[in-house]
Symmetry: C3
Amino acid sequence: MKGWLLAPLMVFLTAQVALGAGGRISEDTEACIECHRSVHPGIVAGWKESRMAKITPAEALKNIGLTRRISTEKVPYQVAGFVVGCAECHAMNPEGHRDTFEHEGYQVHAVVTPKDCATCHPVEVRQYGENLMSHAYGNLNENPVYRDLAETTAGSQTFEDMKTMYEKADAETKADSCNYCHGTEVKIEGVRARDTGFGEMKFPILSGWPNQGVGRINPDGSKGSCAACHTRHEFSIQMARKPHTCSECHRGPDVPAYKVYLVSKHGNIYSSLGKAWNYTAVPWTGGEDFTAPTCATCHVSLVVSEEGEVVAERTHQMNDRLSWRIFGLIYAHAHPRSPDTTIVKNKAGLPLPTELTGEPVVEYLIDANEQDKRRETMQKVCLACHSHGWVDGQFARFENTIKSTNEMTLTATKVLLSAWEKGAAKGLAQKDSIFNEAIERKWVEQWLFFANSTRYASAMAGADYGVFANGRWQMSKNIQEMVDWMQFKLKEKQK
Amino acid sequence: MKGWLLAPLMVFLTAQVALGAGGRISEDTEACIECHRSVHPGIVAGWKESRMAKITPAEALKNIGLTRRISTEKVPYQVAGFVVGCAECHAMNPEGHRDTFEHEGYQVHAVVTPKDCATCHPVEVRQYGENLMSHAYGNLNENPVYRDLAETTAGSQTFEDMKTMYEKADAETKADSCNYCHGTEVKIEGVRARDTGFGEMKFPILSGWPNQGVGRINPDGSKGSCAACHTRHEFSIQMARKPHTCSECHRGPDVPAYKVYLVSKHGNIYSSLGKAWNYTAVPWTGGEDFTAPTCATCHVSLVVSEEGEVVAERTHQMNDRLSWRIFGLIYAHAHPRSPDTTIVKNKAGLPLPTELTGEPVVEYLIDANEQDKRRETMQKVCLACHSHGWVDGQFARFENTIKSTNEMTLTATKVLLSAWEKGAAKGLAQKDSIFNEAIERKWVEQWLFFANSTRYASAMAGADYGVFANGRWQMSKNIQEMVDWMQFKLKEKQK
Amino acid sequence: MKGWLLAPLMVFLTAQVALGAGGRISEDTEACIECHRSVHPGIVAGWKESRMAKITPAEALKNIGLTRRISTEKVPYQVAGFVVGCAECHAMNPEGHRDTFEHEGYQVHAVVTPKDCATCHPVEVRQYGENLMSHAYGNLNENPVYRDLAETTAGSQTFEDMKTMYEKADAETKADSCNYCHGTEVKIEGVRARDTGFGEMKFPILSGWPNQGVGRINPDGSKGSCAACHTRHEFSIQMARKPHTCSECHRGPDVPAYKVYLVSKHGNIYSSLGKAWNYTAVPWTGGEDFTAPTCATCHVSLVVSEEGEVVAERTHQMNDRLSWRIFGLIYAHAHPRSPDTTIVKNKAGLPLPTELTGEPVVEYLIDANEQDKRRETMQKVCLACHSHGWVDGQFARFENTIKSTNEMTLTATKVLLSAWEKGAAKGLAQKDSIFNEAIERKWVEQWLFFANSTRYASAMAGADYGVFANGRWQMSKNIQEMVDWMQFKLKEKQK
C-alpha cells in the first residue's frame, strides 16, 4: 500500500484524470480519488471511462429534445458544474442514509440508491417505482406462498427415520440465492475498525451486503439498485442496452428470456452483426444504429426511426409495453395494476393473481383496454421492421400459446388436487406446504419452468425452448410423471 | 405516418440510397422504397446494407471462377441492370404465386421463395432441393410415426378420473413449435382491408405466417425458405457463415450442434479470435480468412487453401459431406438416398430407416461406397489443418461412438419392448401411440437427446456433451430409470 | 497435392514467411514449411500468427522484469537465435520421445509435451506439475472409486431377463468421454506406411490420439498438454486469457464454471465491453487493460495495478489462490496437499479426501493456515475493484454455502445409506458398485451437479445456478425423489 510514498505520483495522476475527463472534478471527488486510485484502482479506472466522469450535469442539460439523457429540469447548484464523481453520489443526502459514516472528514455512504440517482434522473426513478422489479424483495419475501417456495427451495433438509424435515434458509443463503436478484434488505449492524494503509479507520458493518438486486431495500428507505443494470462504475449505456445485462437474472429455467432471445432470429442478428452497431446514441435509431432489437429496444429504450419519428418512448416501468405477465406465477395473466403484489388476494384467500384453477382475480389486474394499449405500444416497435400481416400472425400465435400453456398448467393442477384429495400428498387442506413433496415440485416445474419457457419461446420466436428445451415436450411428459408418481405413492401407502 | 408530409424528404433519401448503393435501382423498387422507407424503416435500412442493394446481377456476372457468387449463367434482361431490390424479388413471377395481390398498381407477393431466388442462384436452389431440410415439413408431418411424436409433444392433455387424455395440437401451436423450424404450409385464407397512412388497402390473409422454416410449403408450390439462413433483408454472407445462424434450429437437446461446437476447440478459437476473421471473402481461404472452421466451413462453403486449391466445393445439399445421419431418428444410420423420407418403409411396415431393433433398411439408404466418398470429402477439410494420424484417430473414435450409442439405444428399446409385452405400457401391438406414456418418453429421450448429444460431442469434440451434459451419463441413468419404472408399474397394477 | 509443381512457389512463400516473421527461421523449420505449407496450410497459417513465429528466444530474453514472457534464464545456444518453429518443438529431445520417427531426414515427434515447452518456460511447467490438472489422468483412472464412476458412466449396458448388466467402456469410448478432458495415455502401437504427395512415407500409429487433455500421459513420460489451453499453433495469449478456453472442460453440469461466470456481473462486463480490452499485454494491468476479470485474471495471470504494483503473481498451479476444492468430490474440502490424489485414503479405506459422511481426511489436505493464505491471495485481486466490506461479505456468504451444500450432500448420503441398509439397493457392504443403480445416480447428481453448481454460483455470483439452474431447487427436489424411490423400491420388492 504505502500510500504516502505514492502521493506525489497520485497528484499528477489526478490531474491527468481531470484533463482526460474534459470536465471539472469537484474538490471532494479529487480527495476521494487521491487515495482510492491506489486502494481500488479498478473502481477509479472504470469510472474514468464513464460518461459521468466526462460531462457535467450543466453540460448534459444543454442537449435538447430527444438527445437529452438526464430527466431533471434543474440540477442543484452545488453539483451542476462538476462531473459526477465519487463524492457527488456517495456523499449525497447524508442525513437520509442510515449507512452514512464519517470518513476522512466526509460524511459518506457505500450504498448508492435510486433516491441518489434521482437527483439527475427523476423520471426514470419514478417510472422504476412502478416497475414490478422495484418491489421484487417484498413480492417474494412478504407473500406467504412465495416465501414458502423460497424457503423450501433454499432451506436445508435433514433425513431421520425414513423421513425428511425442512429447515428455514438462513439470511446468507437467501442472499446467495433468491435475493441475489430480488434484492436483500441492507441494514447497519455495527461498526468495525480496520487497519488500512492510511492508519486505522472505522467502517459500518452492513448485513445483506454486497447486493445489487433489483428490489434491494436500501438504508435510505428506497427500493432497488440502478447498478443492477447500469453497472458500476462505468454506467455504460452500451452495456445496459446489450442483452448480457438482462441475462444476469433472466437466463435460468424459471425465466429463460436471454436463452430464447439468443436462438431467435433477432438474437442471431445481434450475435452475428451486432459488433458493428452503435449502442451509445440517444435517441436510438432503428436501422441506422442497429438492425435487430436487443432486450432494451423492445422493453426500455427511446427508439426513433431514421426520419426521427418516435417509435417508442423511453420507459423504466418496462411492463407498459406488455399486456401479459408470462412468468413467475402459476398462470399467465394480465399484468397487476400495482407493482406491490403483496396486496393481491384471490377468492380462496391466497395471495395470488389467479385462483389455483386459473381464473384471474380481475380487480387487481389491468383490464382489456389497458392490455390492448400496451400491446399496441409494443407492436409499434415490431412494425418498424415487419408488415402488419407478420405482426398480426405473431401475436395471434402468442395469444394462443398463452391459452394453451395455461390449459396445461390447469391439467397439472388437477393432478395435484387429486393427489391431495386421495392422500398421496399433503396440501392446502392439511395446512402443509404446497412445495415440499416430489409431486408438488413437479407441479412447480410445470409452470415455473416449462410453461414459462414455452411462452418466452412464443413471444420471441425461440423455437426449441417451446419444444424440447424445457418446452411442450417437458410439459407433456411431466403430467405423465405426476400421474405415475401419484399411483406409485398410493400403491406404496397400501397395506 | 403522414406519408404525404414526408414525401419531398423521401425523394431526397431515395436518391441518397441510389448514390450509396453504387448501382441503379429500378423504378419499381424506387416506388416501393418511397413509402416503405417510412412505413418499415428497418427493412429498408437492412436492405441498404446488403450486397444485393449494391451490385447488379450484370456486375455480379463479371466475377469469374471461384469468386463468382451467383450461379446462373444468364440473368433475365429485365433485372440484370438493376440492383436486386423490393420489386425484383417481391414482384417476380406473379402468376406462379398464389399469394400475389394488387398493391398500388403492382402485382406483389409477401412470401419470397427458393423459386424466386433461383433466378440468380439456380445451382444452390437445385442442391437445396436435395437437402433433407427442404423436405422438413413433409418428413415430419406426413410420416405417421413422426406426426404422432409431434402431436403428443405439442398437443394438450386433460386429466379426468385419474386418467390423462391427449388432444391434437392446433395449427397455431404446431407453427409455434415443431413447424417453426420445419416450416409451415403457407396458404391464402382470404383478404382483409386495413386503414394505412396512405388510405385503405387490401392485403391477403396468410395462414402459417409468419414462418421461415427450412421446409416451408410456399404459395408457389416450392419448398423451403432461403431466409432461414440468409436472413432478410441484409442477406449477409457473414451471418450465414457464423454459427449463430445454425443455432436458431440446431441448439436444443434434440440437436445440440451449436452447443457442442461452442465448447469444442474449434468453437473456442471462433469465440476467442473470430472477430478478426474475414467472413465475406469468396472463395473462403483457410488460414488467411479464418483459422478454425465454423459450421459453414465444414458443411456448406466453398473453401480454398492459401494457394488457391479447392479444399471443398460449395454445397447446399449439406449431407454430401456426411456419411452418417446422427440425429432425429431412433438409430444413427447411413443417409437416406432421397430427401423425401416419407417413402421409406421398414420390414415391420413402419416409415423408419431402421427396424425398431436397429437394422438399417438398406434399400433406402446410401451404400458404403457413397459413405466413404462423403467421409473423404469431409476429411479433406480436416486435413487442411490436421495430420492424417489425427484425422484417422478422430474418425475411428466417431465410428465407434456411432456403434456404441446405437447399442445403448437398442438396450433401451429392449426395455420398452418388455414393458409393452408385460403390460406395463401399451405399444404397437395394442395400436397405441408409442410416445404417450412416461416410459415411452424416456425411450425417446434416450435417442433423441442423449444418443444424439453423445454423437455430436464425438463428431465435433465437444467433450462434456458426450458425458454429463445429456451424454453417456444420462444414457446410462435413463436405462436404470426405465427398468425401475416398469417394475414400479407392474407392482402398481398388481392386486 | 502435386507438391513438386508447387515447389518454386513455395520457396517464395517461405521467404515471405521469413520476412513477415521479422526473425530468423531455422533451416530445419524452413524445410518443414516447404512441404507442410501445402499439405496442412491451416497449421502453417496459424503458426505465422503466433508470437513464437515472430520473436526469437534471445529477443524474448531482452524483456526485463514483469514484461518477460519466458521463464528460463538461458535458452540453449542452438535455438536461441531462431524463431520457435516446427523443428524447434517437434524435433526437440528425440531420444526422450518414444514417438520419434525418421521423417525426411529428421527425427521428429507428433506429440509436443510440457517437457518440450520447458526449454523456454520451465517455471510454468514446474508449477503446472503441482496443478491437480497435470494428474487428471491418474486421479481419475487409477482411483478405484473414480474409475468405477467412469466405467459405469461410459460403459455399455445390456438388458436381459428384466435385468441390466454393465460392460466396461472400451478405450475409444473413454478417450471420447472422460479422458477427452482428463487426458489419454498416448502410446506407440506400430508403424504404418502411407502414400503421400511426396511418395510413400512411414508414420507411427499412436493410440489415445488425438488428445489434448490436461493430464495426458505423453510418450516422453511427461504429464499434460500445454495446448489444452495454449491452443496450437497460434499459442495466443489472448485466447488463453479469454473464458472460452476454460469452457472447453469447465462448462457442463459437473463443473459449470463458464456458465456461472457468463451470468455473473463479471461475465456480463466481459460480454458487453470486453471486445475493447487488451488481452496481450504482459503484465496485465487491471483498469487499463480490462475492467472486469476473466477466468485467467483470478486464477492464473500476472496482474498489476495501473501504478505497477503486483496484484497477483503468475501461477500455473492455479489452486494456490483457492482455499477450497469445490467440485468433483462428494464434499467440498480443503485442497489436497499433493496433486496426485491416488495416495489419499480415508478411515474407511476409500481413496477419498473425506469420509462418506463428510469428515475431512486432514492429513492429506492443506491446513487452515494455508487456506487463509490462499484466500488472501485471491482477495487481493478482488480488492483491486471492491471495498473490504464488499469482499468480506462475499467470502462470508461463500463459506456459508460451502457448509450448507455439504450438509445437503450429507442428507442425500444418509438416504443412500438407508437404501443400502434396507435392501432397496446394493452398496459397499455388498461389494457392489456404488454408481450403478438409479438412487446412486441421483446421489451422484446431488454433489456432482447440484452442490457443485450452487458453490460455483456462490463463488462467482452466478445467481440462478445456485437456485433453479441445477442449484438449490434441484438439491432439495432430488432428496425427495431419492426417498420416494427407496420407498417405491421397498414396496416393489415386497411380496
